[in-house]
Symmetry: C3
Subunit: 269 residues, 3 copies
């Protein structure tokens, strides 16, 4: 089977940046199969990229998984590569927390390297396009079979920067959650897993009240959008097994005024 490289960036689709990553990898490892997770992460949205990578990675063949969402490019942040405990996946990106959730899903990092001055980078390294000059060439080398240990200098996995996401708080018949990310459809992912919800006394089919700032919204704990009328709100287990808020055929983030980090209280009514 051909080696796999996956790409996840905030480069967007209107410039050549994502295409250039493909070019560099095709030159460095012609046999690699390159899969775009997405290049549509909102600019500099490290948390969104971390969540998207966590959600997508289990469906990707194991390989080299590159993330370039990198507001500190050209500054002093490290570039890192790590190997996961399970499945020997290699994660590659800036040391800004973006790899944290995906690494955790595969048992955490068992090895990590600072690749900022990797011998495989393309010289001269530009100050602004490390995707092209650093991350893609390293990914190509690793896909072609080079050893991870030669990509850079070993570092302590524990020294890798975290994301610092908020934690949910559970009360009797109440959960204090935070919005982590909204998808294209406006469905809002919360920092609560399906398992955590089970203990909170909130049950499928039951009405709840969402408290978002001064706003009060009636909603149902439901399985899917079509369980409620168009325009009605639901709290549901999304496809990543996390709790999410949606409006059937609507755009919950916009209609309910939810942004990244917004506190959402879910209260049994």
């Amino acid at each position: 089977m051909a080696p796999v490289v996956t790409l996840l960036t905030d480069y967007g689709y209107s410039d050549e940046f994502a295409g250039v990553l493909h070019g560099v990898i095709a030159r460095g490892c012609p046999e690699a199969r390159v899969i775009d997770i997405t290049h549509g992460i909102a600019r500099h949205d490290v948390s969104a990229a971390a969540i998207v990578l966590r959600n997508a990675l289990p469906q990707m063949p194991a390989g080299v998984h590159v993330v370039v969402v990198d507001p500190g490019v050209g500054g002093e942040r490290r570039a890192i590569a790590l190997k996961t405990a399970e499945e020997d996946r290699i994660l590659l990106g800036p040391d800004n927390g973006v790899l944290e959730l995906a690494a955790a899903r595969f048992g955490g990092a068992v090895e990590a390297f600072d690749v900022s001055r990797s011998p495989w980078r393309l010289e001269p390294v530009s100050a602004t396009f490390h995707g092209r000059d650093l991350f893609a060439p390293i990914a190509a080398r690793l896909a072609a079979g080079a050893k991870l240990g030669e990509a850079g200098d070993p570092i302590e996995p524990a020294s890798i920067q975290g994301l610092g996401l908020p934690e949910p708080v559970f009360g009797e018949g109440e959960v204090v959650a935070h919005a982590l990310h909204a998808d294209r459809f406006g469905n809002v992912l919360l920092n609560v897993t399906h398992e955590q919800l089970a203990g909170s006394g909130l049950q499928l089919g039951k009405p709840v009240e969402l408290r978002i700032g001064a706003r009060r919204v009636q909603a149902h704990v439901a399985s899917t959008f079509t369980d409620v009328e168009p325009g009605a709100a639901i709290v549901y287990e999304d496809a990543s097994r996390s709790l999410a808020v949606a409006i059937n055929r609507g755009h919950a983030a916009r209609e309910l005024g939810i942004r990244m980090g917004t506190e959402i209280r879910i209260v049994r009514s």
Copy 2:
């Protein structure tokens, strides 16, 4: 030649959804070549997806052709797979009319299956991401050579849901058409084929009047945009051999206030 899977969705490009389909297929059938027709269909626009699939399919190598534009996901709509009379193409998607036009272009469905409970789906099937849990795994199995008859339960091709598109009406020197779809450039596809126009008395190079609600627009029946001045309207045979309305270097849908389903009378002037 590698087996081909084509993808057409309304997942957009800002989330991981389309990338995840690639991942699932790469895991299930590593040798498959996956071609993205587009993931940019407007959310839930089943008609647009049906037209886009019809227009794109003749240029695609025969293979497994997946469509996920699915406002009823998680509800009671069936998921279906069908085989076309010509070229043995396999079309896979929700049973909401989205496959109708493409199937018709290849002689209609000769076999059809309800794959809602396919043995190949990924368990547990989420309520909201059937692309990942149902359609992509089935596509991968079929691309890998599994038999269509094992994908689900046989159904009558005649039981497949239709789109219910409006029909044009032809009078002397007049066509009553409807807008089916606007592309990125604002060019508006009508429900009239080039062959149908031939019988209406409207001829290349001749002036016509477009009547759109209360609006009256002078236009020419033309071959291409540059046959008229910038800003002028044309009625022309588009690349799918259907009639379309455009404004040279303009955006006809926006400038003429045309939406999906808008009635457009084309009258000889």
Copy 3:
């Protein structure tokens, strides 16, 4: 190594157009590897496409490089194919200047052909979708090993249309530049290379004033965004080794009112 075809268009991502190019090439040359540079060029923006191709091409494996940004499609403009002096790259597109900068980067065109009536086009050629009917089939044939000389009729390389970009003017401690292109992040590429700047007396780390119409903006000549505070402007060498203007974590094009062709005076302060 598989033959490579790269694609660069203004087709966008909401229609089937880019996907159809992939389909046509997969049918004509199943072994080709197709790399999308981008399909997100602003509609009809020939200059932007020319710059994007110039920047991306050095990172692409040598192959057949197709550009379809073609406001004159269906009119009298020629379709051309050329071979570059260095690396034997084949560039294919409309004769509207879009290939000029990329050809120059590889030593210019040593052979050129008018392929408007290529024997390899798909008949009937539509008036509006030459990507599908002309450029993609020619690219597929060439990728499959056909001879460039059989794609069309030889023409003089000197007869190829140029872009006519403005030239910068250098004074003592001052450069009169023009904006060529803004990327997704609002970073503005200028018509000045890093080498040209060196002779102007403007130095890294020094303050400059940007004069944009009546606007006066303090900026620094810097290496990267993080050399200045968020919201501050820099003039820097971008990843293509050209001069560019950016605002750290901002959108320079929008915030400074810069469009394609805007004159920007960079004055030592």
